[in-house]
């Protein structure tokens, strides 16, 4: 009797979650279908299959607007940002976890402060700093801001490095390899999986970011994909056929990445948590 009740409850929960998760599915599929409708059809039919499929929205978004420029900007900022974020974070974490020095705890806590103060609350001084360095409205400036968000990666990598046995470096050191050599040719290859998960979650964060590009990249040449989607959205009523196509184009790479690497993405998030 009891077992039966249990199964019933379990199935009810499954059904409930099935309904809840269909919201996501319906939204995505409907957006995809809408992107193939002409603007006159969209006015009559915003839900369901298109009666005639047109590629015009995509053609307009890609050719008339600077889609490839925005795509390039987003890719450039994300890839360069993630590369240096991981490189510098790994170096910092390595320095903290593998060497003994005075005030080590202070240094390691210092790198955690950034977690407590979200960058959004610092934009005003950041604006002044970037302006003084003549980096306002430059991709370099934005990339530097992303690199500075290294608290989480440093924390995760420090934890990771602490678990690598010291004997690995000792033998290389005896062979006369320099410290940097050891780091790049022995340590980095070992932590490839961690770097991959960290790269994924930070890459997604940077790719999707809206606030920093909005504040610091007002020049339309430097616009990222997210900003361009936002521009379409803010003029939605006039451009709504195009908005759907732009949204689909922006979503596709991230969704492919998600379905290929969802377990690493999840790992990246659960690894980076602060546990006492």
């Amino acid at each position: 009797m009891k077992k039966k009740q249990d199964t019933l409850l379990r199935n009810a929960l499954s059904l409930l979650l099935l309904l809840f998760t269909s919201i996501t599915l319906i939204l995505l599929v409907n957006t995809f279908m809408n992107s193939f409708k002409s603007s006159s059809e969209l006015a009559r039919n915003t839900f369901g299959f298109p009666s005639t499929i047109t590629l015009q929205n995509y053609i307009t978004v890609i050719t008339e607007d600077n889609f490839f420029k925005y795509l390039f900007n987003s890719l450039f900022i994300t890839l360069v940002g993630v590369f240096f974020l991981l490189l510098l974070s790994a170096m910092v974490a390595y320095g903290i976890s593998r060497y003994e020095f005075k005030r080590k705890e202070v240094v390691s806590t210092y790198f955690l402060i950034g977690m407590m103060f979200p960058v959004q609350l610092c934009v005003m001084p950041l604006f002044v700093i970037l302006r003084n360095m003549q980096l306002l409205n430059t991709m370099t400036g934005v990339i530097l801001l992303y690199i500075a968000g290294m608290s989480f990666p440093v924390f995760t990598l420090t934890k990771f490095f602490r678990n690598i046995p010291a004997s690995i470096e000792e033998s290389a050191r005896l062979d006369g390899a320099s410290e940097f050599r050891i780091f790049f040719s022995i340590i980095i290859p070992i932590c490839k999986p961690v770097l991959a998960t960290l790269g994924l979650i930070n890459g997604i964060r940077i790719w999707n970011d809206f606030y920093i590009p909005m504040v610091f990249l007002s020049d339309s040449n430097k616009r990222t994909l997210m900003l361009s989607v936002y521009k379409y959205m803010s003029d939605f009523v006039r451009n709504w056929d195009l908005t759907f196509a732009a949204v689909v184009l922006t979503l596709i790479p991230i969704l492919i990445l998600y379905f290929l690497c969802s377990s690493q993405i999840v790992e990246g998030i659960t690894d980076g948590t602060v546990k006492e």
Partner: protein, 300 residues
């Protein structure tokens, strides 16, 4: 220099990251404190005004009510995270943990919105809840109901925001709870089953106490983010804070006053800095209280 790197190689490893981190993550915190004592349009002379910016923020007839309203919204948002979103994340994690049918698929789908940019989430929300073009009104009308204002309704807008955050933000916290539950030793659960514990007893007597540290992580982190929330309310309500300022948050107000000219018709960076400083203090107090509270809970 070369010798220094030889004797203290950690400096070579730490320094490059240290410099960028210090310039772009730490100095801004302190310079915000510094600027908050000045009146400064962003260029030219700074005038020292002491605590005037803070006094304006808390007592000025036109500014203070806007600030209190925004701050109140932030606090309301935090309460929703603590008492609605976090519990739901915990329960969902548990449902996945007991492996109901389709758990693998649900995990994938529940986490999916996390990778979608808030810009696009905002777009989806508009598509459904916009009073003029939203499909919700179209559905209601086709069924013979009356159109609602939804995002345009000051009593509804905030609830819609929370609903959207629940949908988008559920994945991270849920996965943190979930991965912690998987770390609970099987023997512990089996032993309780031998004692005849049902699901409810297992959940409250074993899983919940073992998840307190995840609660700390989730709640502290989401509280910090909640105090800095910007994207979604901005995308849904615009820079003015939505219908009747029901979607106005401190960070949106901050944006208006720092980069716009909302205060006396001229932009005042010092005033914006003062808002940041108040938020820093609130973050520090809330996280301190929260971690102490949850630590106590963990000990008991």
């Amino acid at each position: 220099m070369k010798n220094l790197l030889k004797s203290k190689p950690q400096i070579g490893f730490i320094l490059p990251g240290f410099l960028i981190y210090t310039i772009f993550a730490i100095i801004p915190i302190f310079s915000a404190m510094y600027y908050s004592f000045f009146e400064w349009p962003g260029i030219g002379e700074k005038t020292f005004v002491g605590l005037d910016n803070f006094i304006t923020l808390f007592t000025d007839e036109t500014v203070a009510p806007i600030f209190y309203n925004a701050l109140f919204n932030n606090l309301k948002y935090i309460l929703c995270i603590w008492f609605v979103i976090t519990p739901v994340q915990f329960i969902l994690a548990y449902i996945l943990f007991i492996k109901i049918r389709g758990a693998q698929y649900f995990k994938l789908m529940l986490f999916l919105p996390y990778v979608i940019s808030s810009t696009i989430i905002g777009f989806f929300t508009t598509l459904i809840f916009d009073p003029n073009i939203g499909s919700l009104n179209a559905v209601i009308e086709s069924m013979g109901g009356t159109r609602g204002l939804w995002l345009g309704d000051p009593n509804m807008a905030f609830k819609i925001l929370i609903l959207v955050v629940l949908w988008q933000g559920i994945g991270t916290g849920m996965m943190i709870f979930y991965s912690d539950m998987q770390g609970i030793p099987n023997s512990l659960i089996e032993a309780s089953e031998m004692d005849g514990a049902n699901e409810w007893v297992k959940l409250t007597k074993i899983i919940f106490p073992m998840s307190i540290s995840s609660f700390t992580t989730n709640m502290v982190m989401s509280t910090i983010w909640a105090l800095a929330v910007f994207d979604l309310p901005f995308l849904l309500g615009g820079v003015t804070g939505g219908a009747d300022k029901s979607l106005d948050f401190v960070n949106i107000m901050f944006y208006r006053y720092t980069f716009g000219t909302a205060l006396n018709g001229k932009s005042n960076m010092g005033f914006g800095a003062a808002i940041s400083v108040v938020m820093f203090l609130i973050i520090a107090v809330i996280t301190l209280v929260l971690t102490q509270l949850l630590k106590k809970l963990e000990k008991n």
